[in-house]
């Protein structure tokens, strides 16, 4: 299953500091959306509000609405734990659980929520998720070895496998390839293209070519100066953003004439 996301007038704060201001954006189901923009403009901050991970940081809070197929994530009474099990996240630095085997890493999210699954179901899920993350062939003979013994790119794909194992509706990725070599990067980009068939994917990237290669739509964020809030400047079809943007700032940024 995959769901759409609609954000209405979202302001994001770290305590008193307004980090991102007035974002409105509509993200379609089964699409890949890329967030681009200069460092510090609030891409990560905004991304983390989409599954309520922002409030994990002390002082982190938001104003406004984020709707998942029409249901507001921030309505009082909504449990963030529920939200996060439907909207998965892959982080910039690969973070498999070091104390767990590869297999247990994949099952980590599934075993939460007190769920018990049979050995054969678990085996099937591990294989399916690792295949889904294009990692199965590389690790199938060492599923009981620690996840931290894999290469960086393999660890990142393990994290993706762990995320898709819980069958979320949306997958958020914060610069998932920034710590990876070009070959691992391509492997993950291919993977994102496949994930689109089943999931709504949102990806933050500093790599324009990557945004152009993987995404259907692109959102450009910018910041007026230090201490000022980041804003969504332009959001459109990826082809339009890169070839014929409406805003001057977008054009400067995508053509490398920025700052």
């Amino acid at each position: 299953m995959s769901k759409r996301i609609d954000v209405k007038d979202l302001n994001v704060y770290y305590s008193k500091f307004l980090a991102v201001e007035g974002v409105n954006i509509n993200i379609a189901a089964k699409s890949v959306t890329a967030f681009i923009g200069p460092s510090g403009c609030g891409k990560s901050t905004f991304l983390r509000t989409l599954n309520r991970m922002h409030e994990v940081i002390p002082g982190g809070r938001v104003e406004g609405e984020v709707l998942l197929d029409g249901d507001n994530l921030y309505e009082p009474g909504v449990d963030p734990v529920n939200v996060r099990s439907q909207i998965g996240m892959v982080f910039q630095r690969p973070n498999p659980f070091p104390t767990m085997s590869i297999r247990d890493n994949v099952l980590a999210g599934v075993k939460l929520n007190g769920k018990k699954i049979s050995r054969s179901d678990a085996d099937a899920l591990v294989e399916g998720s690792l295949r889904g993350a294009n990692l199965w062939n590389e690790v199938k003979d060492r599923l009981d070895k620690p996840g931290s013994g894999l290469s960086g790119g393999q660890q990142q794909r393990l994290c993706i496998a762990r995320t898709i194992a819980v069958k979320p509706d949306v997958i958020l990725m914060d610069e998932p390839c920034s710590a990876l070599d070009p070959i691992s990067t391509l492997a993950i980009e291919d993977l994102i293209n496949e994930l689109k068939n089943d999931y709504t994917v949102v990806i933050v990237t500093h790599n324009m070519q990557q945004a152009a290669r993987v995404s259907d739509k692109t959102a450009f964020f910018n910041i007026a100066g230090t201490g000022k809030p980041g804003k969504l400047i332009e959001y459109n079809e990826t082809a339009t953003i890169f070839s014929n943007p409406a805003e001057k700032a977008t054009e400067d940024y995508v053509s490398g004439r920025f700052g």
Binding site: V56, P58, T99, A108, L112, K145, P146
Partner: protein
């Protein structure tokens, strides 16, 4: 002859620093080993007369083994009671401070617990003797009446409350701050990355702790418990004040039993000759117990090395 430009002549400042540091580290390591070795040798030489003496001359009149066995068991029981109480509470309090309490409370609470660790043991002993023991008497009577069929609660219960269980509880209070402080420090060091990984999978706070924090902290918790155990095994004053000693008995709520450390402390002032050698031999036994326990703990930690998160 070719010269290699990468082989610089003359030591540079950085290398001198390296040498000094590695020398100092090696020296410190050797010093610790030497100290341990010296203690062991001292204990062994001083204790030697005990092992060569006629068994009838040893206290109790039946040889060193039957003299030492009851107090070894007493020592282990006291330490086990202390750990059984202090480990779960210590870990729970540490988790509360590191992951549940609001910051305003967490800071002062942690500080308070560190202070508890600095209170001298004689104070704990006095508290156990004056306050805790009398307060526990009714509880012991209840235990003897209702659970008396279990040997460890066999009656008649002590009228003063100066029992093994009281001593164990006092020891628990003493080791609690050690276990809590160290565990809290380790819990706080869990990488944010892993905590967030768990949360992003839809973990509740407790699930996050059990998937990310506790497995990561496991070797540290074991070390913390071992340090606590060290204090419990070696504690003299508190036990000497709180326990009304006697022969080995299974009941923890009657007077009786003794620990090695308290046995040494109580008898040392008047001891000479063979009696002194006996007490030192008892010290040697305690030393060996501590070594064995620590080796077991090391082995447990090493068994899970691959999954420790340190790689």
């Amino acid at each position: 002859m070719t010269t290699n430009a990468l082989k610089s002549s003359g030591p540079s400042a950085g290398r001198a620093g390296d040498k000094i540091f590695s020398g100092a580290a090696l020296g410190a390591g050797v010093l610790i080993l030497l100290t341990l070795f010296a203690v062991a040798v001292f204990l062994f030489i001083q204790a030697l007369p005990t092992f060569t003496a006629d068994p009838a001359e040893i206290s109790g009149g039946a040889g060193f083994f039957s003299y030492i066995l009851p107090i070894v068991i007493g020592t282990v029981i006291a330490a086990l009671i202390a750990l059984a109480i202090a480990t779960p509470i210590g870990i729970a309090v540490a988790l509360f401070i590191s992951h549940y309490a609001p910051r305003r409370i967490a800071g002062p609470l942690g500080y308070l617990i560190d202070l508890l660790a600095a209170i001298p043991s004689v104070i704990y002993g006095a508290w156990g003797y004056l306050v805790l023991a009398p307060a526990l008497v009714p509880g012991y009577q209840w235990l003897a009446e209702n659970l008396g069929f279990i040997p460890i609660f066999g009656g008649p219960a002590s009228q003063t409350g100066k029992t093994m269980l009281t001593a164990g509880i006092v020891l628990a209070v003493m080791v609690l701050p050690i276990i809590t402080s160290l565990s809290r420090e380790i819990f706080l060091q869990t990488p944010k990355l892993h905590e967030e990984a768990a949360l992003a999978l839809g973990a509740t706070r407790w699930e996050m702790i059990s998937t990310a924090v506790l497995p990561f902290a496991r070797p540290g918790i074991i070390s913390a418990v071992m340090l606590g155990l060290g204090r419990a095994l070696g504690e003299t004053m508190a036990v000497a004040l709180v326990l009304s000693t006697g022969g080995l008995i299974p009941s923890l709520i009657q007077s009786g039993n003794q620990t090695i450390a308290a046995e040494i402390a109580l008898n040392f002032p008047e001891a000479f000759g063979l009696r002194l050698a006996e007490l030192i031999a008892a010290g040697l036994v305690l030393f060996v117990i501590t070594l064995i326990v620590n080796m077991i703990a090391r082995a447990i930690i090493a068994r899970h090395k691959e999954f420790s998160g340190a790689n």
